[in-house]
């Protein structure tokens, strides 16, 4: 009889934010990501350094401690390529920390697109190139092969599962959304519809979001949440079941939920309490898939994500500004790749990071506060203009420097 266990999975990502790139910059300035006209220097650098101090470093230290203290503790991480590029520039010790975690053999790296992009929905060949680029950098830095895939923002549908199966992944991660699951629990391993060799892990969004979103919310009836209470909830949820998938942003720890709200102490205590029960353990994503046979098939013909109350892609593709931005961007694919200009290709790919269109989201209702918190711009409209200006500059570079590509590309 296998032990029941928590599958803890954290996602670390930072985009290369586009600076306030004005009409006057087009064709004059080809660097889109270095906001240097503020007192604090480069915006991306200052954000990265801040989050490194608040989250990446202290949480890595906590993980090392937990791994030493609890032989059964395991965790899975996904780290985007654009995160790693920034870490290499501004905080290489974070990569060293992650290397130490992976070296324990109890920390698994999850596959995704290098650029945290929506390429799957716009260009399958480009998507595969980005998955491959991510596999490559993970292999290079951590010496491991990724086995389980998650797509950007946990976006998922049946055809993506089939793609992942054909690509050789043994598992894929998705949101455990009630309207899809209906009477079924996310606390089992499932099999994606019409697949044979791949398993599906579904996020238990209630228990995940209790920590990721609600932990520090003083208006939440359960505030302040104690490790004891939360441990009871998780034990309650997993009764007669196999796993609880707790998926969240790495930045939950220290950045979205602050240290002075007690998030680190809370999590350390929760993990100790969870493992106090000898029936309980932890699994990595691969571990869970290897341990438990799928209990049934789950079909998601339409794309489901982990975002907003709609759990769809509307936070990225819901309005016409976002659609226009993505249309212009992906229509450049052929010309950009043909250019053979590696800097140009890299800039184009950095613009594919989904955060850029997320900043253009105009759903200012129940989710608007979350969007506003994460945006470096004064409005979605400004975000859109700076992005479109950068697209114009890409077109300019294609034409002026390399003489390929259509001006309306």
């Amino acid at each position: 009889m296998n032990k029941r266990g928590i599958v803890l999975y954290l996602h670390a990502h930072q985009p290369f934010r586009v600076k306030q790139y004005k009409v006057f910059d087009i064709a004059n300035d080809h660097s889109y990501f270095n906001q240097t006209d503020t007192d604090s220097g480069d915006k991306n650098e200052s954000v990265f350094r801040k989050v490194a101090d608040k989250s990446y470093r202290p949480m890595t230290i906590l993980f090392e401690k937990l791994l030493r203290k609890h032989p059964e503790f395991k965790v899975s991480l996904s780290v985007t390529g654009v995160f790693l590029e920034q870490a290499e520039k501004w905080a290489p010790d974070i990569i060293d920390g992650f290397k130490r975690l992976v070296a324990t053999g109890r920390v698994e790296i999850v596959a995704e697109t290098y650029y945290h992009s929506l390429a799957y929905f716009y260009s399958l060949p480009e998507f595969e190139r980005q998955v491959e680029a991510h596999k490559l950098i993970i292999r290079k830095l951590f010496g491991v092969e990724t086995r389980v895939f998650r797509n950007t923002e946990l976006s998922y549908n049946d055809s993506m599962a089939k793609w992942a199966e054909n690509y050789g992944f043994k598992g894929v991660l998705a949101e455990g959304w009630d309207p899809i699951l209906q009477w079924r629990s996310p606390n089992f391993v499932y099999r994606p519809a019409d697949t044979k060799n791949i398993s599906l892990l579904l996020k238990n969004y209630r228990l995940s979001d209790d920590v990721a979103f609600r932990f520090g919310d003083k208006n939440w009836p359960s505030w302040p949440l104690t490790a004891e209470t939360y441990n009871n909830w998780v034990n309650e949820s997993i009764r007669d079941k196999s796993i609880v998938n707790l998926f969240m942003d790495f930045e939950t720890f220290g950045e979205h939920q602050w240290a002075d709200a007690g998030i680190f102490e809370f999590y350390e205590e929760f993990i100790a309490r969870w493992l106090d029960n000898p029936d309980n353990t932890f699994y990595t994503v691969s571990g869970a898939i290897d341990t438990f046979e799928p209990v049934g098939e789950v079909s998601m013909p339409n794309t489901v994500t982990w975002a907003d109350t709609e759990r769809d892609l509307t936070a990225w593709t819901g309005n016409n500004m976002q659609k226009e931005a993505l249309r212009y961007l992906y229509s450049l694919e052929k010309d950009i790749l043909n250019s053979g200009d590696n800097i140009l290709i890299s800039d184009w790919r950095k613009l594919q990071t989904s955060d850029h269109v997320y900043y253009m989201c105009t759903k200012w209702f129940s989710d608007g506060d979350v969007h506003a918190y994460f945006s470096p711009y004064d409005s979605p409209y400004s975000a859109f203009l700076y992005f479109i200006n950068a697209i114009h500059d890409l077109r300019y570079r294609l034409n002026e420097n390399i003489s390929v590509g259509g001006l309306n590309g």
Partner: protein, 402 residues
């Protein structure tokens, strides 16, 4: 002279018109005391005395600009708090108090008030000094609101126009609005069109093609640049312009649109461009001044004035100076003084699209429009305008009509 703004602290054409009109009047030996509602030094203005009526800095006055009548609440002047300079009515009351004191010492021959903002102060000054009041209408609330606007502003305009000894309207169109909407007798109103100061534009300015480098690059690839330099408000009719742009792009692809400016409608316009699938055809610069402002005219081939109701429209003359072909709505006063332009009604986006495509696809047509209006605009001088203005003063002092 009672005004609300002077360049560079202006949010639009009002300040520019006041600046050049006063300068030209001074050349006719007028002694001018000009009151603005903020405190600032104008070292280059040596033809008149500029008085700051409040302690506000020009930037603190932001949000209380000449075009923001919609934000005025409904406080009558008697109830306004002159110490509350965060409130438009408070600033106006404070301004009026300053003017009341000032006119006691300077004893003006004529009080010349520009637009509703300073009309109340003008009426008070007239009551104190018994000097004639000339009200200069650069825009009415009907223009700014694109119809019926703020009732309090309408009331102030009505009183000011009634109390005025003479009225200066910046166009026949504005004169007609004053007659038909405020019931003012036509013989009390003189049309004095605005002008353009060519010397000021010939200030050693050399076009810098790198400011809008991308647009210049696209021009070199055969694209035509269609621009408008304006505030993004309903008055300016830009939603019609963008719809026309989308229609024009369907017929002829090599068009790009430069919208220089900012305003309440910015987000709506950006969204509309995206909705119409032409977001990559329209360039939003934000508010421009200095070189970016001048170069926006220079980079463009066709200038569109899409206003729903434009009392005059100085930017059209500026665009003409920089060699643009002009397409102007029939609802813009400036078209009364120009012949070599194309005209349309502001709501007719099909017509505007057709005109843009016709000009962009016919080099001879574009050239003849550009050359034609270039000859015309330079004849419209502030000297002529100020001569007319002096005559209005004289008639006001004599108490007779011209």
């Amino acid at each position: 002279m009672l005004g609300w703004e002077l360049p560079p602290h202006n949010s639009g054409g009002l300040g520019v018109a006041c600046y050049y009109m006063s300068k030209a009047l001074a050349l006719h030996d007028a002694t001018i005391d000009f009151v603005v509602p903020y405190q600032v030094e104008y070292p280059e203005i040596d033809w008149m005395t500029v008085h700051g009526a409040t302690k506000l800095t020009p930037s603190e006055r932001y949000g209380l600009g000449a075009y923001e009548s919609s934000r005025v609440i409904d406080t009558p002047m008697s109830k306004a708090d002159a110490d509350n300079l965060k409130d438009m009515r408070g600033v106006q009351k404070s301004y009026t108090k300053y003017v009341e004191t000032l006119v006691e010492t300077i004893s003006p021959d004529v009080i010349h008030a520009h637009d509703w903002l300073s009309m109340e102060a003008g009426m008070r000054a007239k009551a104190i000094t018994h000097a004639p009041l000339v009200v200069h209408v650069h825009a009415t609330e009907f223009d700014r609101a694109g119809g019926i606007g703020n009732p309090l502003v309408h009331e102030i305009e009505y009183q000011g126009l009634m109390m005025a000894d003479r009225i200066i309207a910046v166009s026949e169109m504005t004169k007609n609005i004053i007659i038909s909407n405020y019931g003012i007798a036509s013989d009390k109103i003189e049309v004095v069109h605005n002008a353009i100061d060519i010397d000021c534009l010939n200030d050693g300015y050399i076009y810098d093609g790198s400011t809008y480098k991308y647009l210049e690059f696209m021009r070199s690839k055969g694209y035509t640049i269609v621009s408008s330099v304006t505030r993004f408000t309903i008055q300016k009719g830009l939603t019609f312009f963008i719809r026309a742009a989308a229609k024009a792009c369907k017929k002829y692809e090599k068009l790009l649109f430069l919208l220089a400016g900012d305003g309440d409608q910015r987000n709506e316009l950006i969204e509309l461009a995206a909705d119409l699938g032409i977001a990559d055809k329209i360039f939003f610069t934000g508010f421009v001044r200095g070189k970016q402002w001048r170069d926006s005219y220079s980079v463009s081939d066709i200038f569109v004035m899409s206003s729903v109701s434009e009392p005059f429209g100085l930017t059209a003359l500026e665009a003409a100076h920089h060699g643009n072909a002009l397409i102007i709505t029939n609802q813009s006063g400036v078209c009364e003084v120009l012949d070599d332009i194309l005209r349309y009604d502001f709501w007719d986006d099909d017509k505007l699209a057709e005109l843009i495509v016709s000009v962009a696809t016919s080099k001879p047509l574009m050239k003849s429009l550009q050359d034609g209006v270039m000859k015309e605009y330079s004849k419209i001088s502030w000297d002529d305008a100020s001569t007319k203005c002096i005559n209005v003063y004289k008639s006001a002092i004599k108490g007779i009509n011209l």
